[in-house]
Subunit: 455 residues, 2 copies
């Protein structure tokens, strides 16, 4: 069998360096989650198909990986559906389970299923892989991690304040300074729609407005007119074309604009609460900004909308996002559970840290000393030292066989092990080790105690 | 939609306490792996079907979860196979990918695929879920974690020595004292088969011998005769019925018994090397024992065989096992890569730690102080303290709304938060907090600095 094995398209292996870097990000995020009182949950990789299907729209349903029924159950294949070309129905007749498509629907299912055991407000985080049958292409994978933090069962705006702080804390901990936390509010968007008198044109409006930097005021207005937004409407929102200043200053401009819209003003008040609190509390390294063109998750967010942009100069889409939704669990029959949540774009954060060289050198926490193996007697002498060093928390190892010195040194080089300990009869007599610094080539004859102190 | 949602049979959710306990075990194991120079890898959840099928025997193939092909590909369903009742062939015509069944085959695939990037000997560990379409029943799940450490590319017996030490270190770190690390050797089993002159009766022989404690020497001999093992053969292995003493003492008894078998004596020499090294190096809390009835993985292990038994008094099957295999990667075309590996039985270790009450109280690392919310002004005052405490690494939170005091206290109780901080106008004036110990009910008016020191 000379088949050259490989992973399926759209999936990948992670080597030790990659696992270490990813775990570094996970651990930094988790430790901040904990400080903010979030608790971890985990849900199964597959859910009942009925839990997932119909929750992500038609396109989403197509991208859900279905698990084939086992054994005799495949006899129930709906061949008529296959004949008629109803492939989704045919597939569903062969499958009762499907792989997790995101963490939100499983979380909603979890909350409803365990509602009697949960203390609300429930602050949970979840870091697990999800699967999507997307066409594999550069940088898009069929298996990838998501990382979500949500609070359900509280309408308090302090949650939004905390999420701004949480983003700031995580990116500060990752030494990724200067991210922009952009906020908007669904109610502000509704207010703008009211003012321009065209709810159905809201997306066209925000998309056009978002191009202000690129195509200028005249260009934006031209596009709006082309999209059927009236000149009168455009005149009404004229202040948005010179929208500038701090978060609070922008809110004050918005206040004037939306003074005639009740829902718009509610949105402004909410943003103002958050802005004032953050001004009082301060942020470490992030900047809070108001962006009225932010319209992500328009279909389900009902209040705050978040999006995080990488520091200026890094070309990368958003590295985080989220918002408030008034009815997460309604799909499973539990009404009136308001929630707000954010997610971290792990793959992109990884790329940004890589680009800016922000992973610590020590991230791998690999072997510090390789003990060279010259034979059974020397090896046993080394193993006694190795045991002692491990108890002291130092990662060390013995080269397993008494191979040629060159081979053993090669191994140390390739593994990037910084020190090699060499033991001959002289060292064994004097209870010492010849410690070689693999970078400088320097050698010193040391007692075990001295090696421990050195490392 | 009043559907009451639930997880599929054979799967489960993990709540925050369970996740914390599981992570405690994972982290303890990982930190020992690192000290011993093992490096983490991760492989995708699904592999090409061709990678997995045929590697686990017929029963294994049946238990592999197949992922249904997406979109138009299901048109290729082999209806003839369905008609003829060839369900496996029908299933395979609908699926090109399958969920990971264990970590060993994906690891073998990884080694072959990345052989040019790997520095051998390669010491890897892997902790990931696997999936099996077993009939769900008490304590058996369709999704569970495996935890493996292997070294490939070295035939040195120092690896076996290190695995004994690794088991000892992990269980010592988990405070699980008194586990027995049982060892055997495939070559010793071959030697015994030679001596009894009946290789095909080896399993019957070990199964019968294993009952010595329960049914006594006469009972065992009776069973052996019934299984077709000759009286002459039984006479030859008479020493095994009074097999006792330390690891080394047992080896010496074995030596006499197997003196006529070349392969048997090789096995004895291997065990002796390991036994002598461990005697020199010592173990922390585990005991090394020789068990010639240990015949796990008889089909693939070629040298050492390991199995770990929980401390006496705990009723639980083995909590770990492993062995040496001479040809891990041959199935993928890479010959002569010897390996040796062990695994940890995570689910059982979890149950043992639970039974012996060995999880630390602090395992959840949950919120230490809840700040009661009396309204906007008080909340902001608290949030300033909260920010400071989080920077100092303390997990704290604000109750999100100014709900009734009783409700907030209830929340603290249910979450088992040990302290509650209460802030009224008096505290705000004096820059203090009323800290209530939720266990004793004791209250103290303290400065932030004093609270930090107290916690």
């Amino acid at each position: 069998m000379a088949q050259k094995p490989s992973t399926p398209k759209g999936t990948r292996d992670f080597n030790p360096k990659e696992v270490a870097k990813r775990n570094y990000i996970f651990n930094m995020i988790k430790s901040q989650f904990k400080k903010f009182g979030f608790q971890p949950i985990e849900t199964p990789s597959f859910e009942k198909s009925s839990t997932l299907l119909g929750k992500y729209g038609e396109e989403g349903d197509r991208l859900i990986f279905k698990v084939l029924n086992s054994g005799d159950k495949v006899k129930k294949a709906d061949l008529k559906a296959l004949e008629e070309g109803k492939l989704a129905r045919f597939s569903n007749s062969l499958s009762e389970k499907a792989l997790r498509y995101d963490l939100t629907v499983p979380f909603a299912r979890y909350v409803v299923q365990h509602q009697n055991d949960i203390t609300f407000p429930f602050k949970r985080y979840q870091i697990q892989p999800v699967w999507r049958a997307d066409r594999p292409q550069h940088g898009r994978f069929q298996e990838f991690y998501q990382c979500d933090a949500d609070v359900v069962g509280s309408q308090s705006l302090w949650q939004e304040v905390e999420f701004v702080q949480l983003y700031d804390s995580v990116f500060t901990a990752l030494d990724l300074k200067g991210v922009t936390i952009k906020m908007n509010n669904r109610k502000v968007l509704s207010g703008i729609a009211e003012v321009i008198g065209a709810s159905d044109k809201l997306i066209d409006f925000t998309v056009a407005l978002d191009k202000l930097d690129k195509i200028g005021e005249d260009g934006v207005k031209k596009e709006m007119l082309e999209k059927g937004i009236s000149q009168e409407a455009i005149n009404k929102v004229q202040p948005l074309f010179s929208f500038s200043g701090t978060f609070i200053e922008k809110i004050n401009q918005l206040k004037e604009l939306l003074s005639g819209s009740e829902i718009g003003m509610t949105g402004v008040e909410e943003l103002l609460f958050i802005g004032n609190a953050i001004e009082e509390l301060g942020l470490e390294t992030a900047v809070l900004d108001l962006d009225v063109t932010l319209a992500r998750g328009l279909n389900y967010y009902t209040g705050a909308i978040f999006e995080v942009a990488a520091p200026e100069g890094v070309k990368m889409g958003s590295i985080g996002g989220g918002g408030r939704y008034d009815d997460l669990t309604g799909i499973f029959g539990l009404k009136d559970v308001s929630g707000v949540g954010i997610s971290f774009g792990l793959a992109r954060i990884y790329l940004v840290l890589e680009e800016l060289n922000l992973f610590p050198d020590t991230v791998e926490d690999d072997v510090k000393v390789l003990f060279v193996n010259f034979g059974k007697e020397e090896a046993l002498y080394c193993m006694k030292a190795i045991k002692e060093m491990r108890v002291r928390g130092i990662n060390v190892e013995l080269y397993p066989s008494d191979a040629k010195m060159k081979k053993q040194m090669n191994y140390a080089n390739k593994r990037q092990i910084p020190y090699v300990a060499i033991v001959g009869s002289e060292e064994m007599k004097s209870n010492t080790f010849m410690l070689k610094n693999m970078e400088t080539g320097e050698q010193e004859q040391l007692l075990l105690e001295e090696i421990v102190r050195k490392i």
